[in-house]
Amino acid sequence: MKILLKGVLFFLLFLPMISIAQSTVSGTVVDATGQMPIPGVNVLVEGTTNGTTTDFDGKYTLNGVTDGATLSFSYLGFRTQNIPITGQTNLDVTLTEDAAELDAVVVVGYGTTTKKDLTGSVSLLGEKDFNKGNNVTAENLLNGRVAGLTINTGGSPGAGSEIRIRGGASLNASNNPLIVIDGLPINNVANGGRSVLSSINPADIESFSVLKDASAAAIYGNRGANGVIIITTKKGKQGLKVNLDSQTSVARLTDKIDIFNASDYRSLINERFPERTNFLGTANTDWQDAIYQDAFSSQHNLSVSGNLTENLPARLSIGRADQEGLRKTSSFERTTTALSLNPRFFDGTLKIDFNANMSWERNRFAPGVEGGAFQFNPTQPIYDPNSRYGGYYEYTDANGIALGNVPRNPVAQLMQTQDIASVRRYYGNFKVDYKLPFYEPLRAVVNLGLDNSESDRFYEIDRNSALGTNALEGEELGVRSDTDYKSSNRLLDAYLVHTKAFGDFNTEVTAGYSYQIFENQNFTTGNVRDPNAAPPELTLDPDVVLLAYFARGNFNYKQKYFLSASIRRDGTSRFGESERFGYFPAVSGAWQLSDEDFLKDSNTLSLLKIRAGYGITGQQDIGSAYDYLARYGLGNTISQYQFGDQYYNIGQPFYRNAGIKWEEITEYNLGLDYGFFNGKLSGSLDFFRKESDDLLSQAPVPDGVNFSNQGFQNIGKFTTQGIEFVVDYNLASTDDFNWNVNYNLTYIDREINRLAFGQDILVQGISGGTGNTIAVHREGYAPFSFFTYRQLYDTAGNPIEGAYVDVNGDGILNDDDKYISGNGRADVTMGFQSSMNYKNWDFSFNLRASFGNDIYNNVNSGSAQYANVYRTVLNNVPTQVLESNFQNTPDVLVSDYYIENADFLRMDNLTLGYTFDEDKMGKGTLRLWTGVQNVFVITDYSGIDPEITNNGVDNTIFPRGRTFLFGLNYGF
């Protein structure tokens, strides 16, 4: 590393040595439809790094252009124009929009390609495609935009998301896609942050590449199973450019759980529980209102890019995000800074990219009090001047000491809990890409990456809280703990790229090596106020080392017939010596039919390309790594055993599986890219089939021969099949009016083919009893299928409490009578986006829909029964009880009565903007905009939000608000 740094310094010293002087070319670049100037167009002397970008008036000036050189004008979303220079000094250029974006550069693993050359299933999203609005985390720029990619973001500020590409590939191991930032695969550990992506400023992102099928992802070997999302950050460009982006927003609660209000509740008690009326209070409290607030947020980003010296483009940005959550006290604050230095030497043959990002995140987590809020007696007050618990009302005994087994005041719980995590993270990479002077076709690339994060989490429950340690004994200690996390991730990639054309036969071969090491540790004090709590504990995870050799060849003939093949030999320290290496091959091909003579001149069918791919990827990220080692664990002080007068720390062996290995995913993809009317209408259609084999499953072990009755084993198989369809239509394209719409549809069908010993695996815990589950993995069905009794109804259509269909007809109603009654995953998801410009106005909105997804309404199933009204004290219950008339939770908890259809259509955002151009502004342009996020949801689901994670079990969520935004963007 030291040597490397010296090398870098050495080069920086010699930077000014390189200079050439020739003639100057200048001009304006406008778009063909609107004749509007396009800022930010890349202007480059082909074969060199001499280039610039257009300013906000679309103007450029480029020095050092030699006669006979070719100038290339490129801009994402437009067809690149190459114009030879024959003495012109003024060159105005018109760019045509290219809906299919065939020349767009697509970042793939260890290299780039163009959309035209793609053979696998890869989606590219540049800045202009990003979702608008209040997007605090990177993945929300993508939500609903990519067929086959689903993103389900929580409601808390800065919340993380459940991200799935083609539904994921695993049952028990991770289903998260691999995320790669500027070539650095990042670790999937949040460690006190809201999520792995929450420390990244979305404003620093230039593009996403989503590698969906195995033929594209196999280059990432045993980490490619769930697809790959490659994030490329913004780089320095020629020409000074300053951009300020600011927005503020306010979010409001949209819906609440339907429970009895204070007066209805009084009637309920008087009617049904007349012997309990003495428990009624005199207050009228809406506990749900009491725990929520209007949440204000703002985001500000400032970036400057330009060249520091002639050959040193650079970009610097700072960003700040402040978000409040709807749930009181929750907040998210983030400060980021990103520096990118991108020097080019020796006529562009040596490219160096240095990206350094720093981020500081401060999260205050609010405890989940939704359950408490809907249960707490609405006739009781929030505050009680006589309360020893900080003035908050609590249920107490005659001495004023809090009772056990009763709900706690949810407002007190929020206000008396401080759970604050501060995260410092720095990540970046240093990449050298050198075209070897002695052998022109060969490039050597070395990429060094680093991602370090440190965080500390402070947790305290006030001493005067009824939730604290020993509070029930009248000795109030509260709770206090600190947790520190440290993680680091270091990468070295080194590869050679050989590019050569043999006549019409073009080849590009890449071969290289990758080494990555992850270290992780945490220290927790435990609850220092509890004399009998677990002691402070430092946990050092074993290092995870990943090491790989890879090679890829891209070939095409006449840019019509494409073939790509790759292989990776991948090793992981998570598995034993005999199993740790695997080969992950992929091959794919494409045929650009539209370039064949019989279609070449057709303007109607302007693009037709058929793609086919096959690949094998793996999954090595399993929950319990190192099962292959014969390990012993030493117990802590609360888990000792007594001999005589002494307590001994116990030593016990851990579950062992010497043969554990990666999951293997084989995927076939058949795709079609099309374009009509010169690209006015374009899109793609993909069919895929994924077979996940050797699934790491938490499977039963023969009793007595191992150190558990279940453990991770490579047993199991499931298949995912699907269709993805995308269409992009440029409805209008005139001087004043532009309208573009985009629609995507994904159909996914998942089925478990094989489980260990054919055994059902009961999964997905629910509330209402200890250890209940509601779902099952069963051969022949989708994972996490709801597994319930079938409710019987009387002639009037009302459910009969505790009466179910004797499914197997044996006269006994027991576990054998459960059946599969639904699934939380959607069969079909859709996204729709419309963006419109009229003169200086712009207007856009996004819709997202989901069909075939069910929800088990655990809020109702666990609470909406009359027997829950009186438990030591009076509790509120959902008004759904009026419909069911159910008495006892145990009798109805696992009924299909609580499975609901949760199809939905949601408008994610709506944005309206106006741009003041330079004529009015004098200098620079200013765009003012306003918008609404989470505009509406249409659904039959009776709970507060049909979009939940948790495999379709709704057990209260952090609600998503409706957000109203106002923003401005100023640049020159």
């Binding site: 050495f10 080069f11 005994d397 009772l403 056990g404 087994n405 050298v432 080194a494 090596y513 009998n532 677990a534 946990t539 050092l540 074993p542 290092d543 995870v544 080392v545 090491l547 090793g571 320290s573 010596e577 190192y626 080692l629 014969a630 012993y632 664990g633 030493l634 609360i638 888990s639 000792q640 055993y641 007594q642 001999f643 005589g644 307590y647 001994y648 720390n649 030593g651 016990q652 062996p653 599986n657 010497a658 039963p700 072990v701 023969p702 009793d703 007595g704 021969v705 191992n706 150190f707 009755n709 010993f757 054919g758 055994q759 006994i812 027991n814 576990d815 054998d816 027997a867 030591t872």
Partner: protein
Amino acid sequence: MDFKLKNMLKLKTFAAALLLGGALISCESDLDVTPQDDDELLADGFFETEGAYKQALAGVYANLSLTSINDPGGSNIAGLDAGTGQYIRGLFNLENLSTDEVIWTYENDPGLRGMQRNTWSSDNPLILGVFARASYEIALSNEFLRQTTSEMLNSRGVSGELASEIETYRAEVRVLRALANYHLLDLFGKAPNVTENDAVGFDQVGEIAGTELYTYIVTELTEALPNLVEARQNEYARVDQGVANMLLAKLYLNSEVYTGTPRYAECISVCENLIGSGYSLTPDYLYNFMADNNTNGAQNEIIFPVVNDGSNTQNYGGTTIIIQGEVGVPENNGESLGVNPGGFGGLFRVRPEFARLFTENPLYINDARNTLITQDRPIEIDNVGNTAEGYLITKFSNRTSDGGFGSDRTFTDTDYPLFRYADVLLMYAEAVLRGGGGSESLALDYVNDIRERAFGDTSGNIIQSQLTLDFLLDERSRELYWESHRRQDLIRFGVYTGSDYLWSYKGGPQSGTSIPDYRKLFPVPNQSLSSNSNLTQNTGY
């Protein structure tokens, strides 16, 4: 130009160095990682320290109490909630909850309804938990025996005093393994046939059942006995000859159930041995079930305790669930039992049939074993979920004999008396009545010893003619309720199944109904059957 060339050369060197650097780091041996945490060691590393052997021994014992190595909420067996999978709690569920002694309020907890209404299926998680937990005890024992062979000890340079001490550890571990096998025999009639000679992994070992299993356990105990410390001479909570003999006595007493062959004479002989080993009834019955029962004198009566400790041995089973579960709602009498006022929300009540053992005859008002709380409570339980119905008990407590509290209000200090001397006296009497020989007058004396301790005087004493098997069945329940004996006793007395004795919710309905004979054994859990095709299901399931 010259400069540029030089630059180029340097650059080439640099690029080459970078690539070379890459090649150098490509050390594939980096993939051999070792645990770095001080709490996680490779087996060989663990046994490097001399103290490790006792820690590993503690590990084998601890499985009777703990569910994981560092967290009462965690579990090293899967398929059910951590606390529910605790050894003693599992035993209590199968031996007591499936009988007339107790009822569990929350039938929405998985498996509970089937257990307490005797309608369990082979998917019942409580049954899975017990089969897995006992088998895990066998696996831990086998691992200990593998790691402590003389070859292993020699290779690690262990010799002298430690080596001979380890010899004793090994004998203790064989008894613990026999204990687990005994529980499997009693509850399932069979066990996985696995010893220290089998490999760790996934072998589908055969099963050992009935007489064969019985003989194996008896042989193991007999072989271990000479290497064990004499009764009452080992450290507290460790196995001694008394524990091994107690197990033998239990096996002999139930031999007719297990093998078809009665062995009451052998039972009497082992009981005599135990009676001569220096155990004594602690003067106050309730001292056996208090937070300081390891020091208050009860240690002279308790033959084998399973340790619980609020600070050092935390788990959600054992006496923690029992004491927390005893707390009544609406009484909120947790304080008097040494736990939080509300306990676990009125988890347990006793069924009316058990309560009547103390209430039908006014004599038992003065019985120290009668801990019923009856005030404002109906004896009948019409609605299982209604915590206000049915009587409570207060037998187990987290208060100490001098009125103090245990070290924690959630996790209790009270050790669970798995085997108690009073049981030896009752076993002796029963074996005599069942024709095993011995002395009828001694049998009466022993029973009256227990009665005198219970009543504080001779007012509860019985005469020879009152000493019948029917009396003994009731007396055993009065003396040993909630100590994981009841199901075994009811089976031995032939009234667990069938319709001769119906108790509330037996077989399902409140009035009780007959249950078929095959339910004397629990089914082998489906999961265990599926992962080991060499196990067979019990008849009827």
